[in-house]
């Protein structure tokens, strides 16, 4: 018994007090700043060829965060690289095109994006989530469940995981959607009551990520879903997930 009390005392209060103020260690790769898009052909070619997921495009230089797996190769292995990753973890978008970062995009760009106003009215302070793992490597699944642990505690914002799609407002897809998960994913969506939204969690779900060249994927089924939130990462950091869903359901920068 005494060790239980000792553990409890030492445990103290673990939850991050303010998820809005929280900063991730500076080594973390979040928002990539593109310093300049004036680069030589040679450098451009190197950047494009090193990227494992074809996230980098030229003319002008851009990174598609929906494809990027934040491996840092384009920064660490290229001399005089114009790409610099920052630890700004608040990266998410409400439509696919918003995920393309160019040199004109600044740190606060994602903060200024506005979600669909209807969603905010419907779900504020109560947002129930059903996860469908569809070929993910278990990295995103672990980070999604970490969002609900004692440290991140997403439940304080009314965001919660439910066991049945019947109770869910949102389907969160992790993984690139394999052919074998096609039917299960569609059935989960069908089983959910309206109104419902789909959230793509991680670069695999958004674009196929590191598996984009696999021929075991069935990504075409995504067109059946009402996707309103795209959260990049490989895996997504729990703070990114919480910040993103908070914006979607109208918490904005507020905290309880």
């Amino acid at each position: 018994m005494s060790s239980l009390f000792k553990s409890r005392l030492k445990h103290g209060y673990q939850a991050i007090k303010s998820v809005e103020q929280a900063k991730i260690n500076e080594r973390y790769r979040g928002f990539p700043k593109i310093l300049t898009d004036i680069t030589s052909e040679e450098l451009m070619r190197k950047l494009v060829s090193i990227c494992p997921t074809e996230a980098i495009n030229n003319n002008p230089l851009s990174i598609d965060l929906g494809k990027c797996i934040f491996c840092g190769a384009c920064e660490d292995f290229i001399e005089d690289s114009p790409i610099k990753f920052t630890n700004n973890h608040k990266i998410f978008a409400f439509n696919r095109e918003q995920l393309i970062v160019t040199s004109e995009i600044d740190q606060d760009y994602f903060k200024r994006l506005k979600p669909n106003i209807e969603i905010e009215k419907l779900f504020k302070r109560s947002f129930k989530i059903r996860n469908v793992s569809a070929g993910g490597c278990n990295g995103c699944e672990l980070e999604l469940s970490a969002s609900f642990n004692v440290n991140f505690d997403a439940a304080r914002f009314g965001i919660d995981i439910v066991a049945s799609p019947r109770h869910a407002d949102a389907m969160v897809i992790t993984g690139p959607i394999t052919k074998n998960m096609q039917i299960a994913t569609l059935r989960t969506w069908e089983a959910m009551a309206e109104p419902k939204v789909c959230i793509l969690f991680g670069s695999c779900a958004i674009s196929g990520g590191i598996f984009h060249q696999s021929n075991e994927l069935a990504r075409e089924i995504l067109s059946n879903f009402n996707t309103l939130l795209y959260i990049p990462g490989c895996p997504v950091h729990p703070l990114t997930f919480i910040a993103a869903v908070k914006r979607l359901i109208g918490w904005g920068d507020d905290e309880p």
Partner: protein, 500 residues
Amino acid sequence: MEWCTAQNQVIRSRNEIPYRELNEFQKEISDYLDRNFRLIAFDVINLKENEDKNIRNLIAILSNDDHSNLKVATTEIDIREKVPSLSLKYPSFAIFERILAEEHGIDFKEHPYLKPMRDINFPFIYPLSKELHQVGVGPVHAGIIEPGHFRFTCEGEKVLSLEISLGYQKRGVKQLLLKYLKEKQPLTKIFALAESIVGDSSVAYAHLFSIIIESLANIFPDKRDLAIRGIFSEMERIAMHIADLSAIANDVAYLSTSAFLQALRTQIINNLLAICGSRFGRNFFGIGTNRLDFDADTIENMRKNLIDVRNSFINICDDFFSNAMIIARLENTSIFTKEYAKILGQVGISAKASGLPIDARSNHPYGIYRNFPIYPYTLKNGDVYSRAFIRYIEVQQSIKFILEVLDYFPVKEKNDFDKPILKMPELMKDSFCINIVEGFRGEIASFVTTDSKKDILDIIIVDPSVHNWYGLSVAMRNSAISDFPVTNKSFNLSYCGNDM
């Protein structure tokens, strides 16, 4: 006749793999297995370039853990002919034969149940008795876990059989990897893919790929880099074992322990984050050296952090494992005996909890484990309690290991590589190499061959889950169906590692 003896990480010529006629091959396998060898891998491998379409080379890799040696041999089969199955006598072959039947259409005579491993539409065994009922779970589960289907055949509450149907996670990752290796894609890309084979074992897979390519290319990294790799691997093990214990505590509704352990896991993985920018230790390994070195602050912080984690951890587990309610709930739940563990070829946690000391860190040491081997502890009971307790012991072992390595920490001597190389190095031609690392679930084994043009010819990767899923089925027999969640957590097997 003796087979070719190989060691972990040691490169040999491809011609040294002895060829046997099928009947000799099978007979010799049975001789070895009767002499304390166990099966590591049994698969089709591309050994010759430009092969006949119907001819396949089968390879078997066996291990004698007491003497740290591995045996390999190969045989040739024609897929149009039936092949006698080894599964009835040696059930550890059953899974591999099922995979071969599915992927290559090999028909194994007398195999008890040649169900495809990754075909989700294959029907289940259906009980004929009206006394029995079935319960189906998945592929989408109630929590946040990977997809898989479990079909229980029960008599009342008692589970008579559990049929596990996987394949939902099949992304063709092995084919993709082989393609990237053959195309000589940048190594950062190969590592990124390798780390996503099983994302909760990213470090173990990155470790495996670093030693695969380094052994094939005769690259010897500095001791200090090897030490750092060992530290990373143990950090991953600590984090995942703590997560598993937290999940077990959660499943028996002991929520205080579950919450304390969640916080501890965060403490460990945030330490990895502070070193390499990823909570899972990704994007850190490389060929020749690692992407970063440890500076004095890193070492000091890690030491402090680990001592702190150890104190909390021992306190938390002291309460958990001595709580009478917990003991009553976990002890003798889903017993998996040593005999079963042995004939089913179990590895990792489920082997150790059932009394089999199988651990690549001392049986087939690699990297820094050659200097600091970690010897496995075993328990005899094979119940959920033992599988949980083994994790408790291993976390402490790993912390001790890291602290020791940090104390000894060599300075960097050679400066061949100040950065990991980016281009695929030149490999030895016509060679093969077996590489084994110990992930937190158990051994991850690989077999790679190269061709005469110094390119990679073929690769086999065996995740520990491939062996161990079968163990979960057997452990569930005669248990109550309500024991399944906690039993499943005590095995904690990988779906994507099985499906690839």
